[in-house]
């Protein structure tokens, strides 16, 4: 299979490889600046649900951005389903924080969610009925099908979050990187997102969630990774010792 936008060829995933394997990763926002993430190692098996826990500035978003190719790794390696970065774009989806989207852009919710299909369409090919149906299904899963024709600027914070998750579902990726999906959302959205994450995990997909609410959601994850000041630490106690509020405190 060839990726429409980058012309990379995708080999079948290595059946013995983990969904994500990172060794000695170092990332910074400038070529010679301070590391925002340093000496990071992890191996996430296929189908696992992993919580990434740490205070603001710990390096959670930086890690996600490095995994999906938005930030270059200054050192170390990242392998996704046994392949190097960029070799499986459609298998990875990154759900950014809501503030990173231009919500004033004049398009409808359905248009926005359908963008999750672009990775399969490539240049010059418009979305077809099948793509719209997939997008509608994702909206239905997130309980926001009635908002399909609403302009994206007219959504509440919780609705924006559901729309972002619907787009991620539309891409039908195997590795989902969700950056604080439950931050500042209403109770109904939190419940819906929780149910959808369960369904996604039941489908054998791998989910990594950056969260401030780990103590409330602990049962949802197979493992938690703690980050502080761009470094991996052993557990949450280390964060609390240093005065950081960290996990469990929104």
């Amino acid at each position: 299979m060839k990726f429409p936008y980058c012309q990379h060829r995708h080999s079948r995933p290595d059946p013995d490889a983990p969904a994500l394997e990172i060794q000695g990763l170092g990332v910074s926002y400038s070529s010679e600046g301070k590391f925002a993430l340093k000496d990071f190692d992890i191996s996430v098996p296929v189908g696992a649900a992993l919580a990434l826990v740490g205070p603001n500035g710990a390096g959670k978003s930086t890690l996600f951005k490095a995994i999906c190719g938005l930030l270059p790794a200054r050192c170390g390696t990242i392998r996704i389903f046994g392949h190097s970065l960029g070799a499986c774009h459609h298998r990875v989806v990154f759900l950014p924080q809501r503030s990173e989207i231009d919500w004033q852009f004049p398009i409808s919710v359905l248009d926005f969610v359908t963008m999750g299909r672009y990775v399969y369409l490539g240049w010059f090919m418009p979305p077809v009925v099948k793509d719209m149906a997939i997008a509608r299904h994702a909206l239905k899963e997130m309980n926001i099908l009635d908002l399909a024709h609403r302009q994206i600027s007219k959504l509440s914070g919780g609705q924006q979050q559901r729309v972002l998750i619907a787009r991620a579902m539309t891409q039908n990726a195997d590795l989902l990187l969700l950056d604080e999906p439950l931050n500042a959302v209403d109770v109904a959205t939190r419940q819906t997102v929780g149910e959808v994450l369960k369904k996604i995990k039941a489908q054998g997909k791998t989910v990594i969630v950056a969260t401030h609410y780990y103590d409330q959601e602990e049962g949802r994850y197979d493992q938690a990774i703690y980050l502080k000041d761009g470094r991996q630490i052993s557990d949450s106690n280390e964060q609390e010792d240093s005065g950081h509020k960290g996990c469990g405190h929104p």
Binding site: S30, L70, F94, Y118, M125
Partner: protein, 281 residues
């Protein structure tokens, strides 16, 4: 009543230069508004402003050397666009600083070149445009650039939409966002060069931005916004040609004033509509 009005509208068409001006106005209006939609939505209006001012030294050098003004303007704007993109790669040089700095330097350089020449004849049309003075050659070039740019916009519509609303997501699915940004700058340069023919280096940015801003007030859908912007830009451009013909006003300034009038009407309509909605129980 209708007959004299029709005469007012059709009489100018007896002249070839008016026919050329109106066709150019329609083409330039459609091109500026269609591309301007993405320029405005990507918050690149200030880059458009920068490029319009940067065209001046290219125009003056081409004029002094007896070369093609179009080629001169195009080279100057493309060099500026790509130069800003290249220099902004240095983390210590902010892009907005460059966008504020480079055009002023280029504009000053253009004025300096003009002041060294003995002739100031064409300075006015370079700065403020002269759509009534468009030649057959200019017209063919305007049509060619407009058609090519519109085809490109149509082909890459989907990608430009995603690139504008969520560039990070575009990058994660493998879209070459840096190439797309440079591509957009290239088409912006071409549009600016075409727009200069109508409204000059100083006012071209208004044709890129004002019709889009007016359309944005009236709709929240991208397709409708582009269509409305094109309609407003064509209306302004053709209105400017008529005003220039009948009242002898500067064509570029007339076109921009029509744009401003449409924006004011759209703003007024929106204001009254909001008041009405607030008063509803």
């Amino acid at each position: 009543m209708w007959a004299p009005m029709m005469h007012y509208l059709t009489d100018p068409f007896h002249y070839m230069f008016i026919q050329r001006a109106v066709v150019s106005a329609v083409m330039i209006g459609v091109l500026c508004a269609a591309l301007g939609t993405f320029i405005v939505l990507r918050r690149m209006a200030v880059v458009g402003h920068a490029l319009t001012h940067s065209a001046l030294p290219g125009l003056v050098i081409a004029y002094l050397m007896g070369g093609s003004l179009f080629a001169g303007a195009l080279i100057a704007t493309v060099v500026t666009a790509f130069g800003i993109g290249f220099l902004a790669r240095d983390e210590n040089v902010y892009e907005d600083t460059l966008v504020g700095m480079v055009p002023n330097i280029m504009f000053a350089f253009g004025i300096l070149l003009i002041s060294t020449s003995k002739s100031f004849r064409d300075l006015f049309s370079m700065l403020f445009g002269n759509i009534l003075g468009i030649t057959d050659g200019d017209l063919h070039l305007i049509i060619l650039i407009t058609v090519v740019s519109l085809i490109a916009l149509f082909l890459f519509y989907k990608e430009l939409k995603l690139f504008s609303v969520d560039p990070n997501y575009a990058k994660t699915i493998g879209m070459p966002v840096a190439v797309m940004r440079y591509g957009l700058l290239l088409f912006l340069s071409l549009t600016v060069v075409v727009g200069i023919q109508a409204v000059g280096t100083v006012l071209t940015n208004a044709l890129l931005v004002v019709p889009v801003a007016a359309a944005r007030l009236l709709t929240d859908r991208l397709g409708r916004m582009m269509a409305l912007s094109c309609f407003f830009a064509v209306l302004s451009a053709v209105g400017g040609v008529y005003a220039s013909y009948y009242f002898g006003t500067a064509s570029g300034a007339s076109i921009v004033m029509f744009c401003a009038l449409i924006f004011a009407i759209a703003w007024g309509y929106k204001f009254v509509q909001n008041l009405w909605v607030r008063r509803m129980p």
